[in-house]
C-alpha cells in the first residue's frame, strides 16, 4: 500500500489513489494489531499454563525421590532445575515460539511482496541474512555464557556477604573486619569483571548488527536506485521495498535469539527429564502386606548392616541387633559418628532397609507400605528444621489438617505452650524472617511437639534436647513417660540423668552395639558405658563433694 500511495503521488489522478491506499493501510494495520493481540495472548497464556504444570509435576516427583538423592545433589542444583530450567522451557515455549511464528509469517509474506516488487533486489537483500542470524546466535551464546558466569559470581558475592553477616560477632571478636573487607572486595571485583564482559559483548553486538543492517540497506539502496533510474522499478516500489526490508530486520535478528532460546530450552528440558527419570521411593502398597504377629516385640532389629552409597567410609552400621517391647523406653549412647543418626534414619526407612532386618510388630518394614512405616514412627532429628509458617502449622505438620487442640496438647507436653501463648498471635504466630525468631531451645521443643502431635507409636529422639536446659529436659521426659503405655521411645542424649530413667540402654561404638542393658547393670559392668559415664560425671569429684 505504501507503494500504491507513492506511485499514486506521481501518477495522474493520484490524490484519490493516495487517499484510498492510506485508508487501506490503516485498516490493515488495525487488523494486524488484532491478530497479533490474539496470537500473542493465545500462545503466551498457553505457555504459562504449561510452565505451571511442569513445575508442579517436577516438584511432585522430586519430593518423592529418595533421601540419598538429596544427600548427593546440592540444594542449589535442585533449586535451579525447579526454577531456572523450568523458566527456560517457558521462555522457549512462549516468547520463543511466538517470535518463531512471527518470523515465519513475516518472512513468507514480506518475501512474497518483495519478490513481486523485484526478484533481484530480494535476492540481494537476503544475501546478508545468514550472517545476521549467525551473529545473533553467537552473541546469544556468548551473552548467555557470560551472563551465567556473572550470576555465579553474584551468588558467590551474596554467599560471602551472608556468611559475613551471620558471623559478624566472630568478625568483630577476632578483629577480622579488614580481612573480610578484602574478601568481599575480591568477590565484588570478580562480579564486576564478569559484568564488564557481558556489557562488552552486548555493546559489540549492537554495533555489529547495526552495521550489518546498514550494509544491507546500502546495498539495496545502491541497486534499487539504479533500477529506478533504469526504469525497471517504480519509485513507490523502491520505497515499499525498503519498508519491507525494515520489517524483516527485527525478525532476522530475533531468529538468532530464538535459536539460542531453543538450545537453552532443550538442554533445560534435558536436565528436568534427568530428574524425572530417577525412580522415586517405592510407595505402592504390596500385594500381600505382612500381618502383625501378636507376640512379636514392637520393634525388632536383626543383624542390620548399612553403608551409605557412594561413600568409601565403610559400613555405618554393622550387625545391629536389638528389640523393644511395646511401651519400652530405650536410650542410645555413643560418640559422634557412631551411627546413631543412621540407625534412626533407617527405622524410618529414609534410606533403603535390607529385607529381613527391621521388623515392626513382626512385620518386615521393607514390605510394609512406606507411608505406613513413616506414620507409625515419629522422628525428632538433631537439626530442628521448621517451616516459615504458623506455629500451629508446624506443630500439626504431621497431620493432614492441623488440629489446634491436639497441637496445644503436644506443645504443652513439650513444655512450649506457655511461651507460645506469650507470643503475639499465639499458635497463629508465623515463624520466620518477618515473624518470630525462635531460640535454639524453642526450635527443639517445637520439633518435639510436632512429633508428639503426629502421634507415631514409635518415638525417636535424636539428641533432640541438646539446647534445652536439663531441668526442662527432665520435665519433657516425665511428660513423655507419663503416657508411656502407648508409645515406644528410642532416644539418644548425652545427659546421664535422662539415661538413668530408661528401661534399657544401647551403647553404640563404630556402628556396633557394644553394650546393652539397664543403667545400673551397665554401670556395674564397668565397660564402655561406665567410661562414658564416669568421664562425664567425674564421679570422684562428686564423691568428694559434701
Amino acid at each position: 500500500m505504501t507503494r500504491e500511495a507513492i506511485d499514486g503521488i506521481s501518477a495522474p489522478g493520484g490524490r484519490a489513489r493516495v487517499v484510498r491506499a492510506v485508508s487501506w493501510m490503516v485498516l490493515f494495520a488495525a487488523l494486524h494489531g488484532g491478530f497479533r493481540y490474539f496470537g500473542r495472548r493465545g500462545m503466551l497464556v498457553n505457555a504459562s499454563r504449561v510452565e505451571m504444570r511442569l513445575r508442579r509435576d517436577l516438584l511432585f516427583h522430586v519430593i518423592r525421590l529418595p533421601l540419598a538423592f538429596f544427600g548427593r545433589t546440592p540444594t542449589g542444583d535442585v533449586m535451579s532445575r525447579l526454577t531456572n530450567d523450568v523458566s527456560a522451557v517457558w521462555l522457549f515455549l512462549g516468547p520463543g515460539l511466538l517470535i518463531l511464528a512471527g518470523t515465519a509469517i513475516s518472512y513468507v509474506l514480506a518475501l512474497f511482496f518483495m519478490a513481486r516488487i523485484s526478484v533481484m533486489l530480494t535476492l540481494v537483500s537476503l544475501a546478508l541474512a545468514p550472517v545476521v542470524v549467525i551473529t545473533s546466535r553467537e552473541y546469544g551464546r556468548a551473552f548467555h555464557r557470560y551472563h551465567r558466569k556473572a550470576q555465579e559470581s553474584l551468588a558467590a558475592m551474596n554467599a560471602a556477604l551472608q556468611e559475613n553477616i551471620a558471623g559478624i560477632r566472630l568478625v568483630k571478636a577476632y578483629g577480622l573486619e579488614g580481612q573480610e573487607e578484602k574478601r568481599f572486595h575480591r568477590a565484588c571485583r570478580e562480579y564486576y569483571r564478569q559484568n564488564v564482559s557481558v556489557s562488552k559483548t552486548s555493546a559489540a553486538f549492537h554495533g555489529a548488527i547495526g552495521l550489518l543492517a546498514g550494509i544491507g540497506v546500502a546495498l539495496v539502496l545502491l541497486l534499487g536506485a539504479w533500477l529506478v533510474i533504469r526504469g525497471r522499478l517504480t519509485l513507490g516500489g523502491f520505497v515499499a521495498f525498503n519498508a519491507y526490508l525494515a520489517m524483516l530486520s527485527f525478525p532476522t535478528m530475533a531468529l538468532g535469539w530464538v535459536i539460542n532460546l531453543f538450545q537453552r530450552g532443550g538442554s533445560a528440558m534435558g536436565r528436568i527429564n534427568e530428574f524425572l527419570g530417577i525412580p522415586a521411593e517405592p510407595r505402592e502398597p504390596s500385594l500381600f502386606p505382612p500381618r502383625k504377629v501378636p507376640d512379636a516385640p514392637f520393634l525388632e532389629v536383626s543383624d542390620l548392616s548399612f553403608a551409605y552409597e557412594g561413600q568409601d567410609r565403610g559400613e555405618a552400621l554393622r550387625g545391629i541387633t536389638f528389640s523393644l517391647r511395646k511401651g519400652e523406653i530405650a536410650g542410645l549412647v555413643g560418640q559422634t559418628g557412631s551411627g546413631k543418626t543412621t540407625l534412626f534414619s533407617l527405622l524410618l526407612r529414609l534410606y533403603p532397609v535390607p529385607p529381613g532386618t527391621v521388623f515392626l510388630e513382626g512385620r518386615d518394614v521393607s514390605a510394609i507400605p512406606l507411608d505406613e512405616v513413616r506414620r507409625a514412627v515419629s522422628l525428632v532429628s538433631q537439626d530442628p528444621f521448621l517451616f516459615s509458617d504458623t506455629i500451629l502449622a508446624n506443630i500439626g505438620f504431621g497431620r493432614d489438617v492441623p488440629d489446634e487442640e491436639d497441637a496445644r496438647r503436644a506443645a504443652s507436653m513439650a513444655r512450649f505452650l506457655a511461651e507460645i501463648e506469650e507470643m503475639p498471635g499465639g499458635m497463629h504466630a508465623v515463624i520466620g524472617e518477618r515473624g518470630i525468631s525462635l531460640s535454639g531451645g524453642q526450635k527443639q521443643r517445637a520439633t518435639i511437639a510436632r512429633a508428639l502431635c503426629a502421634g507415631g507409636e514409635l518415638l525417636l529422639l535424636d539428641d533432640a534436647l541438646s539446647a534445652v536446659d536439663s531441668e526442662t529436659e527432665q520435665e519433657i521426659f516425665r511428660e513423655i513417660l507419663s503416657v508411656r503405655g502407648g508409645r515406644t521411645v528410642l532416644f539418644s542424649t548425652h545427659r546421664m540423668a535422662s539415661l538413668s530413667r530408661c528401661d534399657r540402654i544401647l551403647v553404640l561404638e563404630g556402628g556396633r552395639i557394644v553394650e546393652e542393658g539397664t543403667h545400673d547393670l551397665l554401670l556395674s559392668r564397668a565397660g564402655a558405658y561406665f567410661d562414658l559415664y564416669s568421664r562425664q560425671l567425674l564421679v570422684r569429684e562428686l564423691e568428694a563433694a559434701p
Binding site: E163, G167, G175, G207, G334, R434, S470
Partner: protein, 610 residues
C-alpha cells in the same frame, strides 16, 4: 520480635516522597571520579546521534538528486557517505554503551565496598534487629537499581533528549507542516504508553513478588525434605505449592494480557503515523511543495522519533526506584559506627602504660583482677522488642588473672549477655567493666580484640580451608590444631588442614566444627578466653579430650565459660551462679554445694542419676 520495623516505615516514607535534589546531588558525587569516562560516553553519544540523524538525510539526497532526476552521478559517493554515517553511528554507539556500563559497574563496585566496610563497623545490636535478608537486599538489589540508573538512566536520557531534539529540529527544518503531522500522533501515543505502562509495571512487580514466594517455598521444602518425608507430608507440600504456583501463573497471564495490548497498540500508532504522513505528504508532493526524498526521509525519521518516547516513562520509573534505593543505601552509609571504632576517650593512655608495666612484671594475682564487673546494668537496645527489661541488674564479680570462671544458671539468666558485654558488642547502661584494671571503653579496639578469644555457642566457620579458619584467630596455628584435636581428625583426610570446610563449615560434623573453633580461639594465644556452652554438642569422648587439652592451655590464662557440663564447672576456680540477671552465688563447687542454694538445686537436677 519486631525485627527492623524501623525499616518498614522508612521504606514507605521514601516511596511517598519521590524526588529529592540533595539525594540526587549526593548520587552524582559518585560519578565525579569517572569524569573522563563520562566525557567519552557523552562524546560518543552526541556524535553517534549526529551520525544517526545524517542517514535519512543522505537518503533524501539520493532520491532527490539521483533517483527522481534519474542520474547516476555522485550516487555511489552518497551511498558510501550513508554507509560511513552508519558505521560512525555504530562505532560511537559501541563506545557509548561500553563506557556507560563501565561507569555504572565502577560506581556500584565502589558503593558496595563502602557499604560493606560500614557494615563491618556497625554495632552488633544493628544486626540483631535487622534481618539478614534485608541487609542482603541493600547490598544487592538496591545497589543494582543505582547501576540501572547510571547505565540506562542518566546517560541514555541525555541521549534520548539529544535524539529527540535533533530529530525534531531536522524535521522542522526540512518541512514544518509535515513535521507537525509527525508530532500530531505524539500526545495520543504518550498517553497510551503511560497508561498501559502503569499497569504493566504494577503487574510486573506483582509477578516478581509471586515468583519470589514460589522460590522461597521451594527452597524451604527442598532443604526440609527429610522432615516432609519423615511425616509423610509430600502431598501437603505439593498442595501448598499449587496455590502459590497458580497465583504466579495467573499473574503472568495478567501481564501477558497487558503486553498483548501494548505491543500491537504501539505498532498501530506507528502505522497510523506513517499513513498520516503518506496522506499529507503525498498531497504535498503532488502539489510540489516537498520533494519525494523529503517524504522518504520523514518516514525514516518518524521511526527514530517514537522509540525514545516509548522509553520515557520507563526512565522516570528507573529514576524513582534508584532514588528510593539510594536513600536506603545512604541510610546505611550514614549510620553511626559502633563506639569502639571511634577514638578512645582521653585518660586511657596513662592507664594503659601502668597496666603494661604491671603485665610485664608478671606477678600473678598481684595487680587488679583480670575481669571485673562493677554493678553492671544492661538492657538490649530498642528495636528488638519494646518491653524488654534489664537483662543484667547490678552484676558484680571479679576474676583474677589465670582463673577460670564458670557462669551457670537457667536459660535467660543473662549468661551469654555477660560474654557479649565483655567483648564490647554492646554498651552497658550503668556500671563498669574492667579488664586488668582498665575500663573496656578506654581500651582501643585493636588491643581489646587482641586480648580476647571468643568461642560461640554455635561453632561458626567461614568458608575456606580449616587452616584459613584457624589462621583467622592468630598465628600459633600448629600448636592450636594439635591441642584442640583438629590435627587428629584432619590427618585422616587427603587435604589435611587445607580441606575446604564448605559454606559455614557445613562439610564438617558439628563436633569437628567445634574443635576447629577451639583451635581458632587458641591460635592467638589470648590473655582471656571466652567460651559459650561450646561443648554442648560434642560427644563425651571428644569433649573429654578437648577438656583435658583445654585444661593445659587454660592454666595461666584467664577464662570465662558458660557451661552446662559438670566437668567444666568442677574444674573452675570460681563459679558464678546467675539467676534472672543477678549474680546469686559465687564460690567454688564445694562452697556452693555446702550453701545448699540455687547451685545445689541445679546440680542435683542435672546429675540426679547418682
Amino acid at each position: 520480635m519486631s525485627n527492623g520495623t524501623e525499616f518498614y516505615f522508612y521504606e514507605d516514607r521514601v516511596e511517598a516522597r519521590g524526588m529529592d535534589i540533595r539525594l540526587l546531588r549526593r548520587l552524582l558525587s559518585y560519578l565525579v571520579p569517572h569524569k573522563g569516562l563520562i566525557a567519552l560516553a557523552l562524546a560518543g553519544l552526541l556524535l553517534g546521534t549526529a551520525c544517526q540523524l545524517a542517514g535519512p538525510y543522505i537518503l533524501k539526497l539520493v532520491i532527490d538528486r539521483n533517483v527522481t532526476p534519474r542520474v547516476l552521478d555522485g550516487m555511489a559517493g552518497r551511498i558510501l557517505l550513508y554507509l560511513a554515517a552508519l558505521a560512525g553511528a555504530m562505532g560511537f554507539l559501541y563506545l557509548q554503551m561500553f563506557s556507560v556500563s563501565l561507569i555504572g559497574q565502577r560506581v556500584i563496585l565502589h558503593i558496595r565496598t563502602e557499604m560493606f566496610g560500614r557494615l563491618q563497623r556497625l554495632p552488633v545490636s544493628f544486626f540483631d534487629r535487622t534481618p539478614t535478608g534485608r541487609l542482603m537486599t541493600r547490598l544487592t538489589s538496591d545497589v543494582e537499581a543505582l547501576q540501572e540508573l547510571i547505565s540506562s538512566g542518566l546517560v541514555s536520557t541525555v541521549g534520548d533528549v539529544a535524539l529527540l531534539a535533533g530529530t525534531a529540529s531536522v524535521l522542522l527544518w526540512m518541512d514544518a507542516r509535515l513535521a507537525l503531522v509527525v508530532f500530531a500522533v505524539l500526545p495520543a501515543l504518550v498517553l497510551f504508553v503511560e497508561l498501559l505502562k502503569r499497569f504493566i509495571r504494577e503487574a510486573n512487580r506483582e509477578k516478581r513478588r509471586k515468583l519470589a514466594r514460589i522460590n522461597a517455598y521451594l527452597q524451604e521444602h527442598v532443604s526440609g525434605v527429610a522432615v516432609v518425608k519423615a511425616f509423610v507430608q509430600e502431598e501437603k507440600s505439593v498442595r501448598g505449592f499449587d496455590a502459590r504456583n497458580e497465583e504466579y501463573c495467573a499473574e503472568s497471564i495478567r501481564l501477558t494480557n497487558f503486553y498483548s495490548v501494548y505491543f500491537p497498540g504501539v505498532e498501530l500508532f506507528a502505522s497510523v503515523a506513517v499513513a498520516l504522513l503518506l496522506w499529507q505528504g503525498g498531497i504535498r508532493v503532488i502539489a510540489g511543495a516537498v520533494t519525494f526524498g523529503t517524504l522518504v526521509a520523514f518516514l525514516e525519521y518518524a521511526q527514530k522519533f517514537y522509540n525514545p518516547i516509548k522509553d520515557m516513562s520507563d526512565k522516570y520509573n528507573i529514576l524513582q526506584a534508584a532514588l528510593a534505593s539510594s536513600e536506603r543505601i545512604f541510610h546505611i552509609l550514614d549510620m553511626e559506627v559502633s563506639p569502639e571504632y571511634g577514638p578512645v576517650p582521653s585518660g586511657g593512655e596513662e592507664d594503659a602504660g601502668a597496666v603494661d608495666a604491671w603485665g610485664a612484671g608478671g606477678a600473678r594475682r598481684a595487680g587488679p583482677p583480670a575481669i571485673e564487673f562493677r554493678d553492671v546494668w544492661f538492657s538490649y537496645p530498642k528495636g528488638g522488642g519494646e518491653e524488654r527489661g534489664m537483662v543484667l541488674r547490678g552484676v558484680s564479680f571479679a576474676l583474677l588473672e589465670g582463673e577460670t570462671g564458670a557462669i551457670v544458671g537457667a536459660t535467660g539468666a543473662g549468661k551469654t549477655t555477660i560474654l557479649n558485654l565483655l567483648c564490647r558488642f554492646y554498651e552497658i547502661s550503668r556500671g563498669e567493666i574492667r579488664l586488668f584494671g582498665r575500663d573496656v571503653r578506654e581500651i582501643p579496639r585493636g588491643e581489646l580484640r587482641g586480648m580476647i578469644s571468643l568461642v560461640l555457642q554455635d561453632p561458626f566457620l567461614f568458608s575456606g580451608t580449616i587452616r584459613e579458619n584457624v589462621e583467622a584467630g592468630g598465628a600459633a596455628i600448629d600448636r592450636a590444631v594439635e591441642v584442640a584435636g583438629v590435627a587428629r581428625f584432619s590427618a585422616a583426610w587427603d587435604g589435611g588442614l587445607i580441606t575446604q570446610v564448605g559454606e559455614r563449615g557445613g562439610r564438617l560434623s558439628v563436633g569437628q566444627r567445634q574443635l576447629v573453633s577451639f583451635a581458632r580461639a587458641l591460635a592467638r594465644d589470648p590473655k582471656i578466653l571466652i567460651l559459650d556452652e561450646a561443648t554442648s554438642s560434642v560427644d563425651p569422648v571428644t569433649e573429654h579430650e578437648l577438656q583435658s587439652a583445654l585444661a593445659k592451655i587454660l592454666s595461666g590464662r584467664t577464662s570465662l565459660v558458660v557451661a552446662h557440663r559438670l566437668s567444666t564447672i568442677l574444674s573452675a576456680d570460681r563459679i558464678i551462679v546467675m539467676h534472672r540477671g543477678k549474680v546469686r552465688e559465687t564460690g567454688t563447687h564445694q562452697e556452693l554445694l555446702a550453701a545448699r542454694g540455687i547451685y545445689h538445686r541445679l546440680f542435683t537436677l542435672q546429675f540426679a542419676g547418682r
